[in-house]
Amino acid sequence: MSFRVKMFVLFPLVVVAAVAIVGVGVTVFTRRAFERVDASHTDAIVSQFQREFANQGQQIVRGVQDISGSEATLNMAIHLNARDIDPSAYGHDAVSVASDHHFDFLEFAGNDGSIISSMQWPARFGYKEDWLLQKTDWSARGAFLQKVDTPDGPELGLIAVSVLPVAGSNLYTAAGERLDKSFLSSLSLPPGMRALLYVNLDANFSSQNLSAVDGPVAQADRLAPLVARELQQPGEITATIRWTRDAANDEVFHLLPLLGPDKNLLGVLFVGSSRHDLVLLERGIRSLALLVGGIALALGILLSWWAAVRVTRPVSKLVAGAREVASGNWDARVEIHSRDEIGALAGAFNQMTGQLAEQRERLIQTERVAAWRELARRLAHELKNPLFPLQITVENLRRAREQHAADFDEIFRESTETLLAEIQNLKTIVGRFSDFAKMPRPELHSLDVNEMVRGVTRLFEPRFIAPGEPKITTELHLDEKLPVIQADSVLLHRAIGNLVLNAIDAMPNGGKLTLRTMAHDGGVRLEISDTGAGLTREECERLFTPYYTTKLHGTGLGLAIVQSVVSDHGGRISVTSQPGSGTTFRIDLLERPPNVTSIDSAFVKSKQPAEPILERKA
């Protein structure tokens, strides 16, 4: 991943992370704050309910005591004490008394608890209210919750009982008010909160028994589990109900169990506080965070892009410059005018390339001088060898004419043969130099390297087995899966021939010649190994220098030609050798030589060292 991309990604990431952290932090803080407020509101309502409950209870107790203490009730009690009395005469009293005292429920019961008059269910006249008979100090108990039977089913009442003892038998007055949604209306609820009342009158949860001030509660069944929990273990519970998928409709309920005299659950007060505002605020915060994050991200991207461009453009210029230098353009320059580190780096680079160009120039010149010297020396050496016998022969001929005229003819014939041979020798030397100068550019076409290798060995086969010649065995390790490459078969044939000749020369006493081909890096590798004397390190380094030879005879152009052919094919040639253990030449050829079109320039460039010679030959 490039430096620019790294910068491009990292910067927005940092911005987004920062915004996210702030958003979450604010949300959590807000939620806690809201929950604290909710809790305080709930407590307020619960205590308000309990206060209301107590007040109502006291009023009921007072009312019941008034009824029980009234003259009419006393008369009833006295009358009921008389023998053979008919209590049905009082059957309707409860209704009128209850309406006078604004009670929802009122019952008079005799000493055995049997109902004398019932307001809420007149038809139960004569049936027993056993709970009235329990050993309790009713006046001390005050008002309490009680399940009250009515024709329309049981209802929940806040009941008080007063006992009027007359001549040893009691007249019970039990009266109270209905505990239903109307009771809730006495509670003042802050916005967003509501109070529900569940009266636990049936065996199972019934949604009818759950009511709010304004009537029945929608989806009441969702609250059934909470009631079930209360039934199992009455106590204050707080739970959140998710009404819809939308969390904004969630409601937190605080349950207050309403217990009867014997601690049985008769009702549950639900104080619900809507999470709507909280959730909306949280959503506001979140969307704000997202907005800020988005903008920051966009800015970040722009900034990081700008910064990346700003920082990396000189760097990439440097890279380009470096690449030019690498490709041999020693005059490459980087145009950077900043004064920062990058500017300094660019300056240093330009300075470096400048120095490199100078040094190369110098090197080329020295090499050119050295080459000229070497060429002169070689030329002198090559030409001096035939010239000396010429000189001798010519001198012999002159002497023979002067001194040995008789034998002159014989000597003349012998001397001219020697002269012709030496001149032929000179011609050969000059031909070789001109050949090197006339190295053609390769013509590419598909080439099966193995086939070519076999051809070369076949060419040299007679020489390996010729009598009087050193005994050389050949081994071919050819990879049959070699790719077909684009190459100039003639040039390659010649180059490999040269190498094979070298190998033969390196093994005057015979040995083993091994040719090996293999697919390598998308191209072909060809190795030619001999078992000759091997070369030293210096010899290896100078090996491809033109006109360098380790042999007594030879121009030292063979390997130079091989190297030029290989480099013309965009390939590489290397040599590995240990003195005494033979030498291995390795040629790596691409399947298709790079920039075939520019093969000229490549050829020219690669031949630059030999250029003066070519120019000279031309």
């Binding site: 008919d86 049905s88 059957g91 309707h92 269910w121 038809a123 006249f125 004569g126 049936y127 024709p151």
Partner: protein, 490 residues
């Protein structure tokens, strides 16, 4: 139980005796003529024509009471329910009771001075009894029927068999002690004494009847002397008496019974019906709903009429009821219907519900609005075909006649239209006067539990202080021609 009913009987007779004695005691002199009786009725009578059924049982009874003022029957019943001559002076019948001949009282005119002829009688009777063949023979009327009519005299004594002329203006003209002078259906009626009444002119000059009066209005009117006679709800009688109102209570004249609807699948199982019957505590119904003005109904006919009601023991047996109810699976929830406009029915229905629930029978009471099927007993008879919204309903069955045979026959006819009755139970009896036949028939009916007798309700009337010689028949028939007003208390 049986003690209560017989005690009921004696207390009633004692009450009559008391009225007998008490009133003259305060004004011990012979009757005086004059004055107008004001009657407050809760009922709203829409027509005096017996052919036109009234909306409710109370209206029906009120119609009878008013019709009795205007029209007479051929035969009337004395206070022991024995037939006595009225418009007919004598009668004969053949051995099979299929042909009756009535000799009409001579020199009688209708109130519009049109002559009282056998033809008019025949027309009048034929209109109300299409089953008969009513003919005329000189000064007699001949009633023939394919089926024997052993109880014909009692039947003819029913108000619906009043002899009257139907005028196109919906005005009823009869031969009775009073003639109708003003008629505002359902609201107001004024009757004037018929000076030419064959049985002697009534003591009072007229009767002013105000209908549709509420309990409150009736009581206030009685207290202030603005009304002389007002009907009183039985459960109010004791309260009103305690407020000094003179209360006259008849023998039970109405049966409140529970009738299971024919269409009810829930009540098909006899154990359901039997369990409910065993669960009901009738004595407490009387104590509570009727404030002891009435008697627990152990059978359809009250003891005073049949004489054998005590043989039907209906002591509540909650244990057995619970056992029966537990055998029924699944436990049916019965719908007990009652007339929404009738507080007494409502009270009784609620009490029955309590009794039943105590016996483990699931049942609930529901008001039947007037326009629902069988909204009232009469509608029940008219609309029996439509599917009712109840499994059992409380039905008020007024005794059409003190004669047990006739009353039972009419009960069964009414109930048969509601309940799932074997036709044999409604077939006429050979001898309706035979207690054994009546008993066996009634026993058979009661044992089907298709109808469960609840209470026998008396007719209770409040009287102002100036009403004298108030001697109604034990079964509630008023004799307004006999009463007179004490001027001293005016």
């Amino acid at each position: 139980m049986r003690r209560i009913s017989s005690a009921r009987f004696t207390t009633n007779s004692l009450l009559f005796a008391l009225l007998f004695v008490a009133l003259p005691a305060s004004a011990a002199r012979r009757p005086r003529y004059g004055g107008t009786i004001t009657i407050d009725l809760q009922a709203r009578v829409t027509s005096l024509d017996p052919a036109q059924k009234q909306g409710s049982v109370a209206d029906q009874i009120a119609q009878d009471r008013l019709l009795e003022l205007v029209a007479d029957r051929l035969v009337t019943l004395d206070r022991f329910g024995r037939p006595r001559p009225a418009l007919a002076v004598s009668w004969q019948h053949d051995g099979k009771f299929t042909r009756w001949t009535f000799r009409l009282r001579p020199n009688i005119k209708f109130q519009d001075a049109s002559p009282f002829t056998p033809d008019s009688v025949a027309t009048s009777l034929q209109a109300m009894n299409p089953g008969w063949r009513v003919g005329v023979a000189s000064d007699s009327v001949v009633v023939e029927s394919d089926s024997p009519l052993p109880d014909l005299l009692c039947v003819l004594a029913e108000t619906r068999n009043s002899i009257l002329l139907r005028k196109p203006t919906d005005v009823i003209v009869g031969t009775g002690p009073f003639r109708l002078t003003t008629w505002e259906p359902g609201r107001h009626a004024v009757f004037a004494a018929n000076d030419d009444y064959w049985d002697g002119r009534p003591f009072v000059d007229g009767i002013d009847v105000r209908m549709g009066r509420t309990i409150r209005e009736r009581m206030i009117d009685l207290d202030l002397g603005k009304a002389d006679i007002a009907d009183v709800a039985p459960d109010r009688a004791r309260i009103d008496a305690s407020r000094g109102v003179k209360i006259s209570t008849s023998d039970p004249t109405e049966l409140l019974a529970l009738v299971f609807a024919r269409s009810s699948a829930r009540a098909k199982e006899i154990r359901v019906r039997q369990a409910l019957s065993l669960a009901i505590d009738r004595a407490s119904l009387v104590d509570f709903a009727l404030q002891r003005e009435g008697a627990p109904a152990e059978a359809l006919l009250p003891q005073w009429s049949s004489g054998y009601e005590f043989l039907f023991s209906t002591a509540p047996d909650v244990a057995t009821a619970r056992q029966l109810a537990s055998q029924i699976s699944p436990a049916h929830v019965l719908r007990l219907g009652y007339d929404a406009d009738d507080p007494m029915e409502r009270m009784i229905a609620e009490r029955i519900t309590v009794n039943a629930q105590a016996a483990g029978i699931s049942i609930y009471a529901r008001a039947i609005s007037a326009d629902s099927p069988g909204g009232t007993a009469n509608r029940a008879t008219n609309r029996a075909a439509s599917v009712p919204e109840y499994d059992a309903r409380i039905v008020r069955l007024p005794m059409s006649s003190p004669a047990p045979g006739v009353a039972l026959g009419d009960f069964l006819q009414t109930v048969a239209q509601l309940a799932d009755f074997d036709p044999s139970l409604t077939a006429p009896l050979n001898d309706p006067a035979n207690s054994e036949q009546l008993y066996s028939r009634e026993r058979a009916v009661v044992d089907t539990y298709e109808i469960i007798p609840l209470v026998h309700v008396p007719e209770v009337v409040g009287l102002s202080a100036r009403v004298r010689d108030w001697i109604p028949a034990p079964w509630g028939k008023w004799h307004l021609a006999d009463i007179w007003l004490d001027g001293a208390s005016q």
